[in-house]
């Protein structure tokens, strides 16, 4: 168990609490250890139809024809859903908070933009019949050249039906942070240190795959048993897509077999509910493990260029960051993640001159979305690798370099928010203490309360 070191910030801690701060047993643990915890898939209904998706075999292609007849001949197949069945086929998840344009079809119309994109949905009496039906659908494509590189996508011909290959932030092709004057900072600096960092897409890989069962009720409503991380996000998007009043839908969930951000997209519920409405039968749509691994949104691949202007004494006086978030084919939550990434820059350091261009770029890769540490995790890898390179360049201790530049209460961040509740200095001091490293008196005396003279 972790030690709580109360020697830091001792005056700010409220001490006499009854139960907050106690390691009480998890409320759900007994259900977990007995297997009685009820996940969405444990609620079953007789007469349920199984939904399996036909998926694009190309990264980028025009759909010439979809022949569903062979699927309909498979014993047990009840219906195939295509885009024509979807009342409001175009959406974007963050529409609810005013983000546009609608850039993603529930089911594609004339083209597919990534390999694995859902094309049409087969509903059948059994899972095996639905799988066979999906194998029998014949889709003809005309392949188009894909784009897989964010910087190439920025300048190549727009491939989406809606808009540019990048998200437009109030007239800009990126989310910008402008603080101080980086060029002036670079001119003053003793050293310029510049590196490029990047990452691959990362899958959430929850042990329970994304899924739901939609059940039509006698009242005319549809109840959806789902493992979404956000019930109302799902409900509201579904109502818009299905063109039904919000009170026709009910979402039940709350117990999820791992999420990590992977279950905030709204993909399975609208189609399952549509199937339930069109057949008047419960419909289950659960990702297979392979779909979860390759088709569900991963953490975005990112690319960052960091250029630092550094003084001999370790002060970083200018930091310029160009950051590309690979949103994949559709926006989903990436526009928000990119803004979050921009706001996180230049890291927990007070740097007087900061310039950030954070691009949310579309490519023909699997659409990415939120994941634990959204917008930050990869940025931290880049920032903190960069700090190490700066320290080595200067021949400085890496902890001391960070302490010199660490933000303190009252500093202004690059996005112009005043720092409060800072504690970077203290976590470094605490880590040093744990490793038995003795910080020089100047560094041991530092505090987040104020910057030393």
């Amino acid at each position: 168990m972790e030690k709580i070191d109360t020697s830091f910030f001792s005056k700010e801690r409220e001490a006499d609490l009854f139960v907050v701060g106690e390691s009480v047993q998890r409320a759900d643990a007994r259900g977990h250890v007995t297997g009685q915890t009820q996940f969405y898939e444990d609620v079953t209904f007789p007469n349920t139809l199984h939904l399996k998706m036909v998926r694009s075999t190309h990264h980028h292609a025009l759909i010439k024809n979809i022949d569903i007849e062979p699927a309909m001949k498979v014993p047990g197949v009840v219906r195939v859903l295509t885009h024509k069945d979807v009342p409001n086929n175009w959406y974007t998840i963050l529409k609810l908070i005013g983000v546009g344009p609608d850039d993603e079809p529930v089911l594609p119309e004339d083209r597919v933009l990534f390999k694995g994109e859902q094309v049409c949905a087969v509903l059948a009496e059994t899972e095996q019949a639905a799988l066979e039906g999906a194998r029998r659908v014949v889709a003809d494509y005309e392949e188009l050249p894909p784009v897989f590189d964010v910087e190439e996508a920025m300048t190549s011909k727009p491939f989406k039906q809606a808009g540019t290959n990048y998200f437009v932030y109030e007239g800009h092709n990126c989310r910008r942070i402008r603080f101080g004057d980086v060029d002036k900072g670079f001119a003053e600096a003793d050293h310029i240190i510049e590196h490029r960092y990047e990452s691959a897409p990362i899958e959430h890989a929850p042990t329970e795959t994304t899924g739901c069962t939609a059940k039509p009720e006698g009242s005319g409503r549809v109840t959806v048993y789902s493992n979404t991380q956000a019930l109302y996000f799902t409900l509201d998007n579904m109502a818009l897509i299905l063109g039904v009043p919000f009170n026709k839908l009910r979402l039940v969930g709350g117990t999820v077999g791992g999420g990590f951000g992977g279950k905030v997209d709204v993909i399975v519920e609208p189609i399952a509910a549509l199937g339930a409405m069109l057949t008047n039968r419960p419909v289950k749509y659960a990702y297979s493990r392979a779909e979860e691994m390759q088709v569900s949104s991963p953490r975005a691949a990112e690319r960052l260029y960091i250029k630092d202007g550094v003084m001999k004494d370790g002060r970083i006086v200018a930091r310029k960051i160009t950051l590309y978030v690979d949103a994949g084919a559709y926006c989903r939550h990436s526009t928000y993640g990119t803004t979050k990434a921009a706001a996180h820059m230049p890291g927990p350091y007070s740097i007087p001159n900061v310039h950030v261009d954070a691009y949310c770029v579309y490519t023909n890769r699997t659409p990415s979305s939120a994941m634990r540490g959204f917008g930050v995790t990869i940025g931290d890898f880049a920032l903190e690798s960069q700090m190490d390179q700066v320290a080595r360049h200067l021949g400085m201790d890496p902890m001391e370099l960070r302490l010199i530049n660490a933000y303190r209460d009252g500093d202004t961040k690059a996005h112009r928010k005043t720092v409060e509740g800072a504690a970077l200095v203290e976590v470094i001091q605490a880590a040093a203490r744990q490793t038995g490293k003795e910080l020089a008196p100047r560094f041991a005396a530092m505090s987040s309360y104020q910057r030393e003279a």
Binding site: K52, V74, E127, Q128, A129, L131, E132, A134, R135, S288
Partner: protein
């Protein structure tokens, strides 16, 4: 879609069902076949299980081990005469999978799985194959490279127990346990008069099937079993392997580290 699952009670019955059923696939432990079935497949429409066909069991006689093809990995690990294989078996999947997976099935698992085949090649094991009318004996080395005929069933495997200390094994994977092979090295090396008198090396994870590292064997034979000679011999491995890319490692990486792991298997450093 799957139409039939049969669990015959004898080998002749199994052969009869194999010929009778269209699109039949043999299933033993199920660890390789079932994921395919669960994902939906047109590859086969019936399954014939070997679970009850009487093909399990281990017999040790006069230094030769004969193992029924449906014997599980756990049963192998529990056999005292096969103690030398223990550490190799423990690198294969997990205890739960080893309770299911069989020695016969392991021969036909797609690389980079199927490390036991590399061991069997090193041990010079032979397989008994029955086609319903006749049986034949094939070296495992040859069997894994060719394919079984549609009527063929591997019924048992046999090999001589190597002399103590002569069996060597190293498996390199991305995880300590339950990893697929980047490269698996199994070897039986006999040393007399200070030099390698005989050796047989099986490699897994570095070709479409488990292979024998003949070039390494040749280079090693007649030389002392020390680091220098092992390293020189291991460097010849590129002639024996045809590595591939997968999510575990690239062909380049497999080729680059195969000699390292061969040397480590041979001399432990």
């Amino acid at each position: 879609m799957l139409q039939t699952v049969a669990t015959p009670g004898s080998l002749p019955e199994t052969h009869a069902l194999l010929s009778k059923l269209d699109g039949a696939r043999l299933i033993a432990g199920g660890t390789a076949v079932m994921p395919t079935l669960n994902a939906g497949t047109d590859e086969f429409s019936s399954l014939v299980s070997l679970r009850a066909a009487g093909l399990s069991g281990i017999v040790v006689k006069d230094g030769v081990v004969t193992i029924g093809a449906a014997t599980t990995m756990t049963e192998l690990a529990d056999e005292p005469a096969l103690a030398f294989l223990q550490s190799a078996l423990e690198t294969i999947a997990s205890p739960t999978i080893r309770n299911m997976a069989t020695i016969g099935g392991n021969l036909f698992v797609k690389q980079p799985y199927g490390d036991l085949s590399a061991c069997l090649i090193a041990l010079g094991a032979t397989a008994t194959v029955s086609d319903g009318t006749a049986t034949r004996i094939e070296p495992v080395e040859k069997l894994v490279a060719s394919r079984l005929g549609p009527k063929d069933i591997v019924t048992q495997l046999a090999f001589s127990i190597p002399s103590p200390g002569s069996f060597k094994f190293v498996k390199a994977g991305r995880k300590a346990l339950n990893a697929a092979a980047i490269v698996t090295v199994a070897a039986v090396v006999s040393v007399s008069d200070g030099v390698v008198s005989q050796c047989r090396i099986g490699l897994g994870g570095v070709a479409e099937c488990a292979v024998r590292a003949r070039s390494v064997e040749e280079a090693l034979t007649g030389n002392p079993l020390d680091r220098t000679h092992a390293e020189q011999a291991a460097a010849k491995a590129d002639r024996d392997i045809e590595p591939f890319d997968d999510s575990h490692a690239s062909a380049w990486y497999r080729a680059r580290v195969t000699p390292v792991h061969i040397r480590r298997a041979l001399v432990g450093e």
